[in-house]
């Protein structure tokens, strides 16, 4: 087993990995950028190595710097988390060349599956159904428009290297295709270093169902059941749950078998996720395999009792998977809400800034994988995820109630969050009835405004606060060095 692991990531997922490493007695090395000097993953690692400026390309995407940090600290393995270099096959190869274990699949597997076109080809050959669309990249606008016409609008323009909601655009008519391609391509180029795009059918009334898989180096592959991830904004999941109410035991069995088949067809190893679209006729289509730990992995951990990060590390170290398919017996219902620094009343625009006060929800069946803390400055440079709030209960109804309670108890002052929005989604009749499709937010919560019925109590609080005297000036004790602006440490801002 490894003595020391470097985590090539930041925020909540870096802390998530640190957590399991500490459980396993493995030392941890964090890496960080200028914006993250006081980030949680820096504070709670055993060692922290500075990478460079805040721009991802100079820090968390900086392969040379990360490899050098691993060598300097004698870390034997690198956990990439999600995003950044997690699905970068060159980085996986580079690690192997340098004698460092990359905790994930091999470079070949990542390359094949990371390219949506190649993976679609593998699945077609392996007998796994894929969504209608191109199985090659296309830059010619005329060819793209032809294909779109053939598939039928609406279609999706997708970056072959995309993921996490980035590099993806819905196109409803030929007029929109040009700007969609340009913008998806630019976004993907910036985020993943590859701007190639293709198109596939867009199902406006579909569910996003994914299966967690674990595969060791010795040919053992199992699935850990599904996650329902249909609630999305800007094509990024925000609420996930397991089990999915859309699956009958038969369909679940069939999709689980297809997921294992997809993993074996691609010679998969380590933890991964097979994503399917499920249409209204209960047909499922392979979307992609995410060759990394998924943001929403905790709901699977809650229902199966399995620590996925521990198995990732053990598999990477060459251990045999100790679990057989029949050992995986999910129990109860789990839900995750992603808490971003964003403003749901204004199109989910990011809301960076200093967290003035934070109180995390606690209690039986509540888990909050959190990367920030009171006093931390949420930087403008990265994905604005603050934490993943997860609950587990015996039934779906109980889990929904528990999540609403947890959201009510989650206090964040200083940046905006979707907490109220989540409460309303969970309380809504379509969610309660599990009528969740990928267009859920647009259909039911477009132009959402919070229903704030305690304005009178808020006014009383305003007055009580004014009467509190010294207390309300609490931040005045801060040293003179500290200022109210989140920007003064960030260099050449135009102010």
């Amino acid at each position: 087993m490894f003595d020391k692991i470097l985590i090539a990531n930041r925020g909540e997922i870096a802390l998530r990995v640190i957590n399991t490493c500490r459980d396993m007695g493995i030392k941890t090395v964090a890496v960080y950028s200028d914006a993250d000097q006081k980030a949680g993953h820096v504070i709670f690692s055993d060692e922290a190595i500075y990478l460079g400026p805040s721009e991802p390309s100079l820090s968390y995407l900086n392969m040379d710097g990360i490899i050098a940090a691993a060598k300097q600290t004698q870390a034997q393995a690198i956990h990439p988390g999600y995003g950044f270099l997690s699905e970068n096959h060159e980085f996986a190869q580079r690690c192997r060349d340098e004698g460092i274990v990359f905790i994930g699949p091999t470079a070949e597997v990542i390359r094949n599956l990371g390219d949506k076109i190649t993976s679609r080809k593998i699945m077609v050959a392996g007998g796994v159904p894929v969504t209608p669309g191109l199985i090659h990249c296309e830059t010619e606008m005329i060819a793209l428009m032809d294909a779109a016409e053939k598939i039928g609008y609406p279609v999706l323009v997708k970056a072959t290297a995309g993921g996490g909601g980035k590099g993806i655009r819905i196109v409803n008519s030929p007029e929109e295709i040009g700007e969609a391609v340009a913008s998806a391509s630019r976004e993907a180029l910036k985020a993943f270093g590859n701007g190639e795009v293709y198109i596939e059918k867009f199902f406006s009334k579909a569910r996003h169902i994914e299966f967690q898989i674990l595969a060791d180096k010795h040919g053992n592959t199992i699935h850990l059941f599904e996650r329902e991830c249909s609630i999305q904004r800007r094509h990024q999941k925000i609420i996930e749950e397991t089990p999915s109410l859309a699956l009958t035991p038969e369909l679940r069995h069939k999709m689980g078998a297809a997921a294992v088949k997809a993993a074996k067809a691609s010679h998969y190893e380590n933890a991964g996720t097979v994503e399917f679209l499920l249409d209204e006729g209960n047909h499922f289509y392979f979307l992609e395999i995410n060759t990394r730990l998924q943001v929403e992995h905790p709901i699977t951990e809650m229902t199966t009792g399995v620590d996925l990060v521990k198995h990732q590390i053990e598999i990477a170290a060459g251990k045999k998977l100790g679990l057989r398919q029949k050992d995986i017996q999910p129990r109860g219902h789990a839900i995750e809400c992603r808490i971003y620094a964003e403003d749901p009343e204004h199109d989910f625009l990011p809301s960076p800034g200093k967290i003035r006060f934070m109180k995390e929800p606690t209690g039986p069946g509540i888990r909050n994988d959190c990367g920030v803390y009171q006093g931390f400055e949420v930087p403008v440079d990265y994905d604005p995820i603050l934490s993943k709030l997860v609950v587990h209960a015996q039934t779906r109804d109980q889990a929904v109630s528990k999540m609403i309670k947890a959201l009510q108890d989650y206090i964040v002052l200083g940046v905006k969050t979707p907490i109220e929005f989540m409460m309303d989604v969970l309380n809504s009749r379509p969610f309660r009835n599990s009528e969740v499709f990928t267009d859920f937010i647009e259909t039911h919560f477009s132009g959402w405004k919070a229903d704030r019925d305690l304005a009178d109590v808020a006014m009383i609080a305003f007055i009580a606060d004014a009467l509190g005297g010294a207390r309300t000036n609490a931040h005045s004790y801060s040293s003179a060095k500290e200022t109210a602006s989140p920007w003064d440490t960030l260099g050449n801002w135009k102010l």
Partner: protein, 166 residues
């Protein structure tokens, strides 16, 4: 004592009689009997007609964000706002300019001074936290000034484009 407050952009007048930790409040339609206890720097426990309410309050330069039962309220003193805004540009003037809704980096400027633009036309693309947002012209008009260029870091108060309305 009368308070003229603005709660989530809505003006409300209430009358409050305060003695020690007790507050008697009269709104247009309702009366409340409240008391409060300070739990920590940002946390007040209110008792309103016998019911507990935990209020979390952050005072950001006069505007207080108050979170109660998971919902947040922006509360400020209307009288103070009037004092401060007298003599300044009114909020309405914002409609003549284009500003970024968040701290961001300018990715691309799509227009130049003198251009005639139509309502809804994209003028500037900004990016924050890995997300791109296009800023649109709020009405038809002529661009009279551009105060941003690619790579600039901008704040919500910054006016990036001035437009002379038709």
């Amino acid at each position: 004592m009368e308070y003229n407050l603005i709660v989530n952009q809505e003006k409300k007048s209430i009358d409050a009689v305060i003695s020690d930790q007790n507050i008697k409040v009269q709104t247009k339609s309702k009366a409340y009997n409240a008391s409060f206890m300070t739990i920590s720097d940002y946390h007040i426990l209110l008792n309103v007609d016998g019911q507990n309410f935990n209020a979390y309050v952050w005072n950001d330069g006069g505007t207080k964000t108050v979170i109660i039962k998971g919902r947040s309220y922006e509360v400020l003193d209307a009288d103070l706002v009037e004092q401060n805004s007298s003599g300044e540009k009114s909020f309405a003037s914002n409609a003549r300019v284009v500003a970024s809704p968040m701290p961001a980096v300018v990715i691309c400027v799509l227009a130049q001074v003198g251009d005639r633009v139509k309502k809804g036309q994209g003028l500037v693309i900004v990016s924050a936290m890995k997300m791109e947002t296009t800023l649109f012209a709020p009405f038809d008009g002529t661009i009279s000034g551009i105060n941003a260029k690619e790579g600039d870091k901008v704040m919500p108060a910054d006016i990036l484009v001035d437009i002379e309305k038709d």
